[in-house]
């Protein structure tokens, strides 16, 4: 479902590769956790996967569509929740959802059903006619999630999706992520909360210095080290991390 082949990216006026020869394949039905220290290349990788940045080398394919040659088709396969949600805070929640539904060309019955379902699920109905700037951080995050999933895409790419959500909303979103994967779709999400990745993900990728240091199930990552937690593995794999986010 998600395929990155030897992807490399260097920012202009920098001689350091933000992402270096990264190859990764995430299949349908997988809930993939993407973890790494600050500055490891997580955000750059996600930006390339969503078509925001163009890789210098390598190819990215989303649900069979190559990002370099079929960008629009590839982007239609994705529901993307970016990190940080200071978006269009002068629109009302409903105007924002209509905007997203128009962009993804969701017809009236489907968008109505989707909006009703998720507003109810996230208890956002009462505020939907207010401007987004009146929302709390968690409410904004809920709105962005509803908007990103409005076209029921096969691939969800979520950059720190649980930040700001209250425990109930976080639980509901995690359940939705699992349900989506159980239907044969893919969820790719980045997080700094290792416990969440440990409990939720079917596979985990650890990135550091722009390269994939390890990928596999938790058991595969442990590779025989019985009892090693994801935190201990993470610290071992990213021993000299700690620079700013690329």
């Amino acid at each position: 479902m998600i395929d990155l082949q030897q992807v490399t990216k260097t920012y202009s006026k920098s001689d350091k590769k933000a992402v270096d020869n990264l190859t990764l394949n995430v299949k349908g039905g997988e809930l993939f956790g993407f973890i790494g220290p600050n500055g490891a290349g997580k955000t750059t990788t996600i930006k390339m996967m969503t078509g925001v940045l163009t890789p210098d080398e390598g190819t990215i394919t989303m649900a069979g569509h190559r990002m370099d040659t079929e960008r629009l088709e590839a982007q239609r396969m994705i529901g993307f929740v970016p990190d940080g949600n200071d978006l269009y805070d002068r629109l009302t929640g409903m105007e924002y959802l209509n905007f997203m539904a128009d962009i993804y060309q969701v017809d009236q019955p489907k968008r109505k059903a989707h909006i009703e379902k998720y507003l109810d699920l996230f208890s956002l109905s009462d505020a939907i006619n207010n401007q987004v700037r009146t929302y709390s951080k968690g409410m904004k995050q809920k709105l962005v999630v509803i908007g990103a999933l409005i076209h029921n895409p096969p691939v969800w790419i979520l950059d720190e999706p649980l930040g700001g959500l209250d425990p109930r909303a976080a639980h509901l979103l995690k359940e939705e992520m699992i349900r989506h994967c159980n239907e044969g779709n893919t969820v790719f999400f980045s997080t700094h909360v290792l416990e969440v990745a440990e409990k939720l993900c079917t596979r985990i990728g650890v990135i550091a210095h722009g390269g994939l240091k390890a990928v596999g199930t938790l058991e595969e990552l442990r590779s025989g080290e019985v009892g090693a937690s994801l935190e201990e593995l993470f610290l071992e794999l990213t021993d000299d991390g700690g620079e700013e986010e690329a």
Partner: protein
């Protein structure tokens, strides 16, 4: 360093960071072309304004100097200085209002600063000092050249220049105090209503229009039409009482003008004392409320009261229309955008109406020819060119397209992640920006047709030229913003006001107009061409330029908009 100076330094560094020698040096090293271009553009604008002021003021002084052979002639040269005092006072009032709204109330640092252990009055003083510094720099352009030219002409004593410096340093204080009170009132009022941004937008636009009306009331001559010495002479002699009257209307301006011109130190001291007292009272009184007022804007406005999905609120549309709607709503709902874009959209209309009214009023009072009669004596091609030039000159100042990509700010990456072609996104921006300009231009031309009846063909052809010009310059402005958007802004005011692209686009559009005006002059004056041939040539050039500009835009979109 005291808290006051630390705060002032912080704000000045934030606002003028690009002009710090160290940063300029780094910019010249890393972005040589862009930095040199910026400096040339600033220099050009300063020279442009300087030359216009110099010509106008020198000519005015020439005309107003009493002839040696006319012993009873009245010396009106001091009107130049009085007018400069009036313009500096009025201009500061309007500009300071927008600056104060942005710096004191709409900055995103309000909550951050409120959490720091700073006395409210210290914070308010530092912010007002920043406004005073900036406005005093602008007043230097308005006041000092007029005073220096006047002083040189009348052979003023050295103390005149000392008084000039005192007036210059003090002249911004009272308008700033008035603007601060007005803005505090508007902010408090807007917080009472859930559509607070609408109140601020309407209030800002209303103040802008009042200022325009007052300034137009001083006289009906603009820099562009002031070529004739006779017009300037008529302007000053006809408006002598009005210009003096305006200082009567605002006594501190009268004290400043009289103190400066007559060497009346008592009046100058009175002016200084009133200015200082006003600043002190403002800081003392507004200091009580400022903290609360500054935080009002960061508070969540009242909820709409409508809960759940409203009937008809879920509507299907195309991706193009979705983006058009988003752009329009953003412009209408962000006060900084609305205040900077909407008045300029309708400025051609307002200016045409005001100029027409002033001219006809003046003609009625003096028994001179009406505008229609005067136009009837001119070559129809010239009439068309004057109409097109006047409207296009003002339309070229619209920042709607020169900031269209910049306004995306932090949302730029999110927009790029959506499955919408760059062409669709850019066409939506173009539709909104050109739509606004077209609306303003058509409204202005309808006003022209109503005020100067009998020139329908000339008006229609001028409208076509204007629309072609607007489309071409819109493509160029957007093309530049696609190539070099400024996405790291903190406040919306920075995005739309402190944007180098706006200045560049304005200068480019004026440059194109100047070239076309030169060509039209040759065709009409030297070749004696009539209306249709002149229109055909200008329309063909503008159409070709518009196609070229559109192609350049699309090329830049392809090259830069989605470039990693």
């Amino acid at each position: 360093m005291s808290t006051f100076f630390a705060l002032l330094r912080l704000q000045l560094l934030t606002r003028y960071a690009d002009l710090k020698p160290k940063n300029l040096k780094a910019a010249l090293r890393d972005k040589r072309g862009r930095t040199v271009g910026m400096l040339i553009a600033i220099l050009f604008l300063v020279v442009y304004l300087g030359v216009i002021l110099y010509i106008l003021e020198t000519k005015a002084l020439d005309i107003l100097t009493p002839s040696p052979g006319a012993p009873n002639a009245v010396d009106l040269r001091n009107l130049v200085v009085i007018l400069a005092v009036v313009l500096a006072t009025g201009g500061t009032l309007v500009m300071a209002f927008f600056f104060i709204m942005s710096a004191l109330y709409l900055g995103r640092d309000a909550t951050f600063l409120a959490a720091l252990p700073i006395k409210t009055r210290t914070l308010l003083s530092a912010k007002l000092a920043q406004v005073w510094l900036s406005e005093t720099l602008i007043d230097a352009v308005i006041l000092l050249p007029a005073c220096v030219l006047y002083g040189a002409r009348v052979g003023a004593e050295p103390l005149f220049y000392v008084r000039m410096v005192i007036v210059w340093l003090l002249i911004a204080i009272l308008p700033i105090c008035i603007a601060a009170v007005l803005s505090a009132f508007l902010i408090r009022l807007s917080a009472l209503w859930k559509h607070r941004e609408l109140i601020m937008t309407v209030g800002g636009i209303a103040l802008f229009l009042v200022y325009m009306f007052v300034m137009m009331n001083v006289g009906s001559v603009t820099g562009d039409s002031a070529e004739s010495g006779a017009i300037i002479q008529k302007f000053f002699t006809d408006n002598a009482s009005r210009i003096s009257g305006m200082t009567q209307f605002f006594p501190p301006a009268k004290w400043a003008a009289e103190g400066l011109l007559e060497g009346d130190w008592g009046k100058l001291a009175l002016f200084a004392a009133v200015s200082a007292a006003a600043a002190a009272v403002l800081i003392l009184v507004l200091g009580i409320f400022y903290r609360k007022l500054s935080l009002l804007q960061s508070e969540a406005p009242q909820a709409s009261g409508k809960k759940g999905i409203q009937k008809g609120s879920i509507r299907v549309g195309s991706a193009f229309m979705a983006n058009v709607k988003r752009e329009v709503l953003t412009i209408l709902r962000v006060p900084a955008y609305a205040v900077n874009i909407l008045p300029i959209t309708f400025m051609p209309l307002v200016m045409i109406i005001m100029m027409g009214m002033m001219f006809n009023k003046s003609a009625g009072e003096n028994g001179a020819q009406s505008l229609t009669q005067m136009m009837g004596n001119l070559n129809p091609a010239l009439i068309m060119c004057i109409m097109a030039l006047a409207v296009a000159y003002m339309a070229g100042m619209n920042p709607a397209l020169s900031t269209a990509v910049t306004r995306e700010g932090k949302g730029h990456d999110f927009i790029k992640s959506l499955p919408v072609s760059a062409k669709t996104l850019i066409h939506a921006k173009l539709a909104v920006g050109c739509g606004l300009e077209t609306f303003g231009v058509i409204a202005a031309m309808i006003a022209v047709a109503v005020m100067i009846p009998g020139f329908t063909l000339e008006t229609v052809l001028a409208l076509i030229l204007c629309l072609l010009f607007c489309f071409g310059t819109a493509c160029l402005a957007l093309s530049r913003d696609v190539k070099k958007p400024r996405l790291d802004w903190v406040t919306e005011q920075e995005a739309v006001k402190q944007n180098f692209g706006v200045l560049i686009s304005m200068l480019v559009s004026w440059g194109i107009l100047a070239a076309l005006a030169g060509l039209a002059f040759v065709m009409i004056h030297f070749l004696n061409w009539g209306l249709i041939p002149v229109f055909a040539v200008l329309a063909a050039i503008l159409a070709a330029a518009a196609i070229g500009a559109y192609k350049l835009l699309m090329k830049n979109v392809k090259k830069y908009y989605f470039a990693g």
